[in-house]
C-alpha cells in the first residue's frame, strides 16, 4: 500500500539518521576517546619505534672510530645516488698504502629510506635513526657528511 510504504520510508529514514547521530553524540560526550596527539608539546614523551627509518647515520664509538672500509657497497645498492663515498689512501703502521674513507656524503634530500644500503653494508657501519625532524631552511643543509671529523677506522676491520 502506498501510504504505509510512505510512512514506513519516513520512519526508517528517521531511524537511520538518529542511529548516526547517536554515534556522533556519543563521541561528543566522551572526551576520553579523543586520539589527537599534540605533537610539538609531547616531544619529551614521544617515542619513535626503534626501527623507524628516519635518516642514515654512521655508528661511531667513544674513541671516534667507525667500521667503514670505504667499500662503497652502499653506494652501489642505493637506487637514487644518495650516497657518495670519497676515498683516500693512507699509510698504515706497516707503511703500506691502505684505502680508507675521506668523506661519506649522504644526500638526505634524495633519500627514500628504503634501507637497501644498511642491508648492503658488510661491516654494519651505517644504520637508520628514528629521527624525523628534518626541516631546514636551506636545501644544502640536507647534504650531510656522515663520518665525524678526525674519525678513523676501527682496528681489525677489513
Amino acid at each position: 500500500m502506498f501510504i504505509t510504504n510512505y510512512i514506513k520510508d519516513i520512519f526508517n529514514g528517521m531511524k537511520s539518521l538518529l542511529t548516526g547521530m547517536k554515534i556522533t553524540g556519543y563521541y561528543f560526550t566522551h572526551h576520553k576517546e579523543i586520539i589527537t596527539e599534540q605533537y610539538p608539546d609531547n616531544r619529551a614523551t614521544l617515542k619513535m619505534a626503534d626501527r623507524f627509518r628516519g635518516e642514515v647515520v654512521m655508528i661511531h664509538d667513544e674513541n671516534n672510530e667507525h667500521a667503514c672500509t670505504g667499500c662503497s657497497a652502499c653506494e652501489l645498492a642505493c637506487p637514487n645516488g644518495t650516497i657518495k663515498i670519497i676515498n683516500k689512501f693512507e699509510l698504515n703502521a706497516e707503511g703500506k698504502k691502505k684505502k680508507a674513507i675521506d668523506t661519506f656524503v649522504y644526500h638526505l634530500e634524495l633519500c627514500t629510506m628504503c634501507n637497501l644500503c644498511i642491508i648492503a653494508c658488510p661491516t654494519d657501519t651505517i644504520k637508520m635513526e628514528p629521527n624525523f625532524e628534518h626541516s631546514v631552511f636551506d636545501r644544502s643543509q640536507l647534504t650531510k657528511v656522515l663520518n665525524h671529523t678526525g674519525s678513523k677506522i676501527k682496528a681489525g676491520v677489513e
Binding site: 548516526g20 556522533t24 563521541y27 561528543f28 576517546e33 579523543i34
Partner: protein
C-alpha cells in the same frame, strides 16, 4: 534581580529625562546599532568557535586549542587574518555586483535581528507582523547568493548559485507552513504575543504531535535555508569547490561566512521563539511554585539556552550526515515535507478551532 528589561528601561528613562524626545530616540538608534553590530561580531566569533569545537569532539579531535585558553581567540585570529587578506576581484567578474553581493547577504541577515525578542522586554522592534517579517526578509539573502554566483563569472559559483536558488525557494514553503501552524494556534504574528501565549507551557508540549511534526519540518527547512549540511549543496566543496563563494577572499568572504552564522542564529532563535517559548521560562500550567522557581533563571539565559540548543542540533546534523544530491533535495521537499506540512497545517487548524490544545 538583574534583568535586561530593567537596564533598557533605565536607559530609556534616563535618555528621555535628559534630552528631548527626538534626540533620545536618535541616541537610542545609535545605541541599538552599536549593540547589534557588537552582537553580530560576538555571535559570529562564538558560533564559529562552537562549530569547530563541536566538530572536533565529534571527530575525536581537540579542535582549536593554541590561541588563548581552549582556543577561544582562534576565531579572533582568523578574523584578523581575513581582514588583512587582499580582497581579490576576478578579472572577468561583474565588479559592481561582485562587490555588492556580500553586503546584500549581510544586510539581510542584519535586518533579521530587529524583531527577535532576546529577553523579557529586550526587543529592538516589536513589529506586529514579526514572524512574517522574519520569513520574508530571510529569503532576501538568496538574492545576494545568486548575485555572488552570477557576478563571479565562474562556473562552479554559477552552479552553486542556481542550486541555492532552487533550494531556498522550495524550502521556504515548508518553513512557512510550519511557522503558520504556530501562528494559527496563537492567532497573532507578533513575536511578543507568541511568546506570551506560551506562559503556561511551550507550544512543543502544548500542541501535541502535530506541533512536533511541524517542529521537525521547520528544523529541516531551516537547515536547508541556511545552506548547511546535509543541504550544503550551494557550496558543496567536493562537487563545486566552494560553490557561490569560490571567488571571494578576504573580508568579502568573511562577510559571507559571518552572515551564514547569523542566519543560523536567527533561524534557531525563531525556532526557539515559536516552539520553545522564546525567553519564556519553563512553565507547567498552573503549578505556581514550580513556575516561580523557573522565573528566577533570567529570561535572556532561557532564550540563549534554547537557541544554542537548536544551533547545536544543526551542528550535530552537519557533522553526522552526508550531503544530499540536488534532485533528492528537491524530492525531499516536494514529495515529503510539503505534503506532510500541508496535512499537518490542516490538523492544527482543526485543533485550534476545536480547542484541543492545552
Amino acid at each position: 534581580m538583574l534583568s535586561l528589561e530593567n537596564i533598557t528601561n533605565t536607559i530609556h528613562e534616563w535618555l528621555n529625562a535628559t534630552f528631548n524626545p527626538t534626540l533620545a530616540l536618535l541616541s537610542e538608534f545609535v545605541l541599538i546599532g552599536i549593540c547589534a553590530i557588537a552582537l553580530f561580531a560576538m555571535l559570529g566569533l562564538s558560533l564559529v568557535l562552537m562549530e569547530r569545537k563541536v566538530a572536533a569532539y565529534m571527530q575525536l579531535r581537540l579542535g582549536p586549542n593554541r590561541v588563548g585558553p581552549f582556543g577561544i581567540f582562534q576565531t579572533v585570529a582568523d578574523t584578523l587574518k581575513l581582514m588583512m587578506k587582499e580582497g581579490l576581484t576576478p578579472d572577468g567578474a561583474d565588479k559592481f555586483l561582485f562587490n555588492l553581493a556580500p553586503f546584500v547577504v549581510m544586510i539581510a541577515a542584519m535586518m533579521l535581528l530587529a524583531p527577535i525578542a532576546f529577553a523579557r522586554g529586550f526587543q529592538i522592534w516589536d513589529i506586529n507582523i514579526g514572524v512574517l517579517f522574519l520569513s520574508a526578509v530571510s529569503s532576501v539573502s538568496v538574492i545576494g547568493i545568486l548575485m555572488a554566483g552570477w557576478a563571479s563569472n565562474n562556473k562552479y559559483s554559477f552552479l552553486g548559485a542556481m542550486r541555492s536558488g532552487a533550494q531556498i525557494v522550495s524550502y521556504e514553503l515548508s518553513a512557512g507552513l510550519s511557522i503558520i501552524t504556530i501562528v494559527i494556534l496563537t492567532g497573532s504574528l507578533q513575536i511578543s504575543d507568541i511568546v506570551n501565549s506560551q506562559e503556561n507551557g511551550w507550544w512543543i508540549f502544548k500542541g501535541h504531535i502535530p506541533i512536533v511534526i511541524s517542529f521537525i519540518t521547520f528544523l529541516i527547512a531551516i537547515t536547508a535555508e541556511t545552506n548547511r549540511a546535509p543541504f550544503d549543496l550551494p557550496e558543496a566543496e567536493s562537487e563545486l569547490t566552494a560553490g557561490f563563494h569560490t571567488e571571494y577572499s578576504g573580508m568579502k568572504f568573511a562577510l559571507f561566512f559571518l552572515s551564514e552564522y547569523i542566519n543560523i542564529f536567527i533561524a534557531c532563535a525563531l525556532g526557539a521563539t515559536l516552539f520553545f517559548g522564546g525567553w519564556m521560562p519553563f512553565h507547567i500550567g498552573h503549578w505556581e511554585a514550580f513556575n516561580q522557581i523557573m522565573d528566577y533563571i533570567p529570561s535572556s539565559v532561557w532564550f540563549m539556552g534554547k537557541t544554542f540548543f537548536l544551533i547545536f542540533l544543526l551542528m550535530w546534523f552537519r557533522w553526522t550526515f552526508p550531503r544530499l544530491r540536488v534532485d533528492q533535495l528537491l524530492s525531499l521537499e516536494w514529495k515529503y515535507l510539503l505534503p506532510i506540512s500541508m496535512i499537518n497545517l490542516l490538523v492544527v487548524t482543526v485543533m485550534a478551532i476545536m480547542g484541543w490544545h492545552f
